[in-house]
């Protein structure tokens, strides 16, 4: 197809168009037996017209998914230890450490050291477990918010909330991140032993991280220990965070 040489320049040029030529129609134009009249065409979802493009799309997806399922390559590094106080996990691959850090130290409650998978759940936890004002307000109004992001419902008790999540949102009744508040304080002290020596019990809180107990002070914390999502784990670095100073949030 031989395109006029000026076309490329036109594409790079300014927006706009030349004044359109005058339109002047004759009534004989669309008369029978002629059928043509100009009209934009619309194709619905499953129209055969889309067959070729759809096939190309799926060929591409096949390649992507096959590669996604492949054994992931890991950047092997000399063995190093997680530097967060009290955590003695050892790693030989940066990707594993990245995941560990985000999951267990990323959204951690500074009061009781429980780790949460998201900032959203951490915020709700702090509110419901560590905020005395919450308890007062909860006596007078519905304060227990639904854990599903986007759902605006609030409830009088955590049990009501659980019922809502099970019935409306089809959540499992034993959803791990909706345990009722226990009277246990922070994780038991002296548990900073080799973590591998402690098998996970089924009744144990899934996301409980056993580390040095937080130094509880009577004053209310208004922030939590949270890593901004833009923290980048430089893939070139061979060692993690070699901080010798104590973590100041504790």
């Amino acid at each position: 197809m031989l395109l006029p040489p000026a076309l490329q320049a036109r594409l790079a040029g300014a927006p706009g168009a030349a004044e359109p030529l005058p339109v002047q129609r004759d009534s004989a134009a669309g008369a029978a037996p002629f059928l043509f009249s100009p009209r934009p065409v619309r194709f619905p979802r499953d129209h055969q017209f889309f067959e070729d493009g759809d096939v190309q799309r799926h060929l591409f997806l096949q390649e992507v998914l096959t590669q996604v399922a492949e054994e992931p390559e890991k950047s092997r590094v000399p063995e190093f230890t997680c530097q967060v106080a009290g955590c003695c996990q050892v790693f030989v691959a940066l990707e594993d450490y990245q995941h560990h850090y985000h999951m267990l130290h990323g959204n951690t409650c500074s009061f009781c050291n429980r780790a949460f998978p998201s900032g959203h759940l951490l915020d709700i936890h702090i509110l419901e477990w560590h905020d005395s004002l919450f308890q007062i307000l909860a006596q007078r109004q519905d304060m227990y918010q639904c854990l599903v992001e986007g759902c605006p419902e609030k409830f009088k008790t955590s049990q009501d909330r659980k019922d809502h999540m099970v019935k409306l949102h089809l959540y499992p009744a034993d959803f791990r991140f909706d345990k009722p508040k226990t009277n246990r304080g922070p994780s038991s002290p002296g548990a900073a032993v080799e973590l591998s020596a402690r098998p996970l019990r089924d009744d144990e809180e899934a996301m409980e991280v056993c580390s040095e107990p937080a130094m509880l002070t009577p004053c209310r914390r208004t922030y939590s220990h949270r890593i901004p999502s833009t923290i980048c784990f430089g893939q070139g670095a061979s060692r993690g965070f070699k901080r010798t100073r104590k973590n100041k949030h504790q």
Binding site: L2, P15, A18, L21, F36, V55, R57, H58, M103
Partner: protein, 493 residues
């Protein structure tokens, strides 16, 4: 191609000819599936790993006792390394469909896996997620449904910050979504739309690509127009998606491809396209098209048509929904660069993917049908002749080219004066030598308009034995009346 993942070289167990043969087979299988409206079936989404490609992937299936043992070790083992190794062995076994069946039939197996998925051991968590991912590849909806207890956690983890893990969860969800309506019926009330709306704010390109994949599978579901697209349109996802498709240095092609396909499934479902237009979809897509036409000149990127195709489709369908009074307000519809871009892309299709030419011509039709501006652009940018060069390619292409030319010709004498003198008439005479009824019919429509508004063209037609060329079509019922009428117009003006 674009993403680093795709750049990884794969071990070639066979020669190039063999690869080509396999690709042709896959393409044929996909074509068949599409005709049966089964294109979403995941059976076709994962390439069959050939038997002879021995290595880590081709393990024999695991027996029930082995699965049980690995699960027990993973759950209660004392040594961290041992627990991890057990899960890795399980994952490898789960690549085999027989092992998947064995796993789901074993009582309590999914419960244990979910327990590991939600445990505080990060490495076990990752491996458990990979096991789920293997299961999600199954072609049996029973296996997908066995994964239902895990979905609330997969969704919860989308709001986390571990990007590799989120990516894995998204691909797993996407696979599960494809396979089973029961899974989709659970995911929507579990809040998949708000979860994706939160996740789309991630700065990680790989996460966004995975999100686009999962979302495209969700939107492609047969019940999507009623059950899914309305909530999608109510969320903040459309705005975020359009933002991520803005052309510029920050545009990631891999991400744009996924979202463009998402947009296509939404738009062609015709739920509420007016909303998308108010979010600026037309201008975003138009600017993107201009950008792509520019890119085509700069690189020889073979994958560009994967993005061009859905963008063209979205634009074409959206154009049918711009109300007449709003046409003037759409900058896109007064910018002839879009026509220039389209022709550059048509040329690109001609070289790389001729089967997509009809889609490009479809957009050209929708642009020119009711637009004196764009019909004038075709003339002033000298694009009639390149258009005519496409005529011999196929009957489908011929019909569309002739339709576009009719769009121009029907606007009146000022337009027809620019169509002839020129190569148009001899092309039409050539077409009359063909026998395809639809092609000849459309050429008769064009001849009628041309003779009506440019009588000198009729004279030339007669001098070049046009009447005789028409004669042979008198036998065809669908053409007879129009042949007579054209003959009459040519002779009597």
């Amino acid at each position: 191609m674009w993403s680093s993942r795709l750049g990884r070289p794969r071990p070639l167990a066979c020669g190039v000819e063999e690869l080509r043969r396999r690709r042709r087979e896959r393409e044929a299988a996909l074509r068949k599936a599409r005709r049966e409206q089964q294109l979403v079936s995941k059976r076709l989404l994962r390439e069959d790993v050939p038997e002879e490609a021995a290595g880590e992937g081709a393990d024999a299936p695991l027996g029930e006792a082995e699965v049980q043992q690995f699960l027990r070790l993973a759950q209660r083992g004392t040594d961290e390394k041992e627990r991890e190794k057990a899960l890795v062995s399980l994952r490898r076994g789960l690549q085999h469909p027989d092992t998947q069946q064995t796993f789901i039939r074993l009582e309590g197996s999914m419960r244990i896996l979910v327990g590991l998925l939600t445990s505080n051991r990060a490495l076990l968590q990752l491996e458990a997620a990979r096991c789920l991912h293997e299961l999600s590849h199954s072609e049996q909806s029973a296996v997908a449904e066995a994964c239902l207890p895990a979905t609330s956690y997969l969704l919860t983890y989308l709001s986390g910050h571990s990007s590799d893990f989120i990516e894995l969860c998204l691909y797993t969800l996407g696979n599960l979504i494809v396979e089973s309506e029961a899974v989709r019926k659970q995911l929507v009330p579990q809040g998949i739309i708000p979860a994706l709306a939160a996740c789309i704010q991630s700065p990680h390109v790989a996460v966004l690509e995975a999100l686009g994949y999962a979302l495209s599978q969700l939107l492609q579901a047969k019940e999507a127009p009623e059950k899914i697209i309305p909530s999608f349109l109510d969320s903040t996802l459309p705005q975020h998606m359009l933002q991520l498709m803005q052309p510029g240095p920050k545009l990631n092609p891999g991400v744009a491809v996924e979202f463009a396909w998402c947009l296509h499934y939404i738009i062609c479902s015709q739920v509420n396209n007016a909303l998308l237009i108010t979010h600026g979809a037309l201008s975003t897509l138009g600017l993107l098209l201009l950008d792509l036409a520019g890119a085509v000149q700069r690189t020889d990127d073979a994958g560009l048509e994967l993005l061009v195709c859905p963008v063209l489709r979205c634009l074409s369908n959206l154009l049918t929904e711009v109300p007449v009074e709003a046409v003037g307000g759409q900058m896109l519809l007064r910018d002839e660069r879009i026509v220039a871009a389209l022709f550059i892309l048509l040329e690109f299709f001609l070289q790389k993917q001729p089967s997509l030419l009809p889609e490009g011509l479809w957009l050209l039709n929708n642009l020119t049908a009711n637009s004196p501006t764009f019909c004038t652009s075709l003339l002033s940018l000298d694009l009639i002749e390149p258009l005519l060069q496409l005529l011999p390619l196929s009957n489908a292409v011929s019909v569309m080219v002739l339709t576009v030319l009719c769009n121009v010709a029907e606007k009146g004498p000022a337009y027809c004066q620019r169509l002839w003198p020129g190569p148009l008439l001899s092309c039409l005479l050539n077409i009359l030598a063909l026998s395809d009824t639809e092609v000849v019919g459309q050429s008769l429509e064009l001849l009628q308009l041309l003779f009506l508004y440019q009588p000198e063209a009729a004279q030339a037609f007669l001098q070049q034995s046009g009447l005789q060329a028409l004669e042979r079509h008198l036998e065809e019922i669908q053409l007879r009346d129009r042949v007579h009428a054209v003959q009459h117009t040519a002779l009597h003006g």
